[in-house]
Amino acid sequence: MGENDANITFFKDGLRLDGRRADELRPLKIEVGILARADGSCYIEMGGNKVIAAVYGPREVHPRHLQEVTRAIVRYRYNMASFSVEERKRPGPDRRSYELSKVSREALEPVILTSYFPRSVIDVFVEVLQADAGTRTAGINAASVALADAGIPMKSMISSCAAGKVGGQLVLDPMKEEDNYGEADMPIAMTPDGRITLLQMDGHMTREELKTALDMAMGGCRQVYEVQRKALIDKYNQMEAEIIPDQEQPQEAEVL
């Protein structure tokens, strides 16, 4: 975490600098199926974060020696666009992105029914187009929806959200300023029934604060889950709507 700067105030009239309550998420927008080539895809805006996830697979594994005979392997590639951050980032993975890719993959893998697809791979690609604290949680949320969009069988969705500590107070879904100058950041991911698949923390929390922060972050995940669910239902309804007219007006389809 960044150094705590005594001159920064994180709250005004009981609200955060962007007007949120302590336990409020940033505006969340999810679009399903926005890419033509990918088997499944999702675009998410979570506050200032703009992230796309794509899923390819199950498909053949190259190189072969990576194959698992009893299950599909899952690969996850978290990547930041060079222009996604204040100071241009050199293209390509760095140590941070390797770690985030690992924990994000481990956040999703528990719910993917990998045993259905032995010897194959499910590839999840996450591109951060604009970063504003919480890109890993945004990425996991998008990836979870993209997996569903690709028709990958899953035990449940995964929803992700962070809790933080700023100016001695716990807050949900910290934005950039809170992340930079706050005292702690704790991203988690979980299933709708509260089983934790990702848990990281850095900063400084007492035993009691950690308890409260976990409850708060889990509440955030539940809110995220509702938005993910709604986006998928909308997409499904829209597909239905697109298919039915065609069936009712076959002559028009031929004209096209």
Binding site: R37, A81, F83, E86, R88, G92, Q130
Partner: protein, 258 residues
Amino acid sequence: MSSVLSEIRKDYLYNMILKGTRADGRYFDQYREISIERGVIAKAEGSARVKLGSSQVLVGIKMQPGEPFPDSPNRGVIITNAELVPLASPTFEPGPPNETGIELARVVDRGVRESKAVDLEALCITPGKQVWIIFIDVHILDDCGNLIDASSLGAIAALLSTKVPASKFGLGEDHPLPIRDLPIATTAIEFGDVVMFDPDSDEESIANSRLTVITTADGSICGLQKSGTGVLNLEKVHHIVDIAGEKAKEIREKFLEV
């Protein structure tokens, strides 16, 4: 694609061509629908998201002060990079840009550079010491063909939306990037003795040759790039260059000068 499937696809497209049309019903010189959204990335000095049919490209511009090249001490520097991230196509692989990505970046770069679209002299801060560095980062999101035209269009659109971030570096007030020309890349492929503009992925996969023509606002040519393992006779080259000029004019007027 397996080679059997690709043979079937090739036959199908070839039969369409014999009938004088393309798989999606376009004329041979017709572009897919284009849409451009500028300023989509607030963290970047400039940005544009281009859709060309189903192809999607995001170009971001970042600027920072840096050292000039020794042989042009009074001019700003342009560095163009293209990332063909595996999210955009089942055929793209993670890792540093391969031949295709490098060629794409270099053709986009050539358009901007050779057209002198950016007034590089105006980007000198202290002669010989400090100039503005412009990073043009092309991020491919969905490869449904003709990435060169989409990326080139994204680059000039993003540059047009770019603010020089002078205040951030204590170098005066922010101001728009000085743009002097509007280069447009137009690409055609040759297959079965027919020339088709703005090829989609299927058309690209069967092409013998591809030719990109970059045109400036005055109708001159500032770049050519042939690729593919086919040949082009002089007549076809002239045909492509002629139509490219018209198409570039239409695109420029419709998307960049309104």
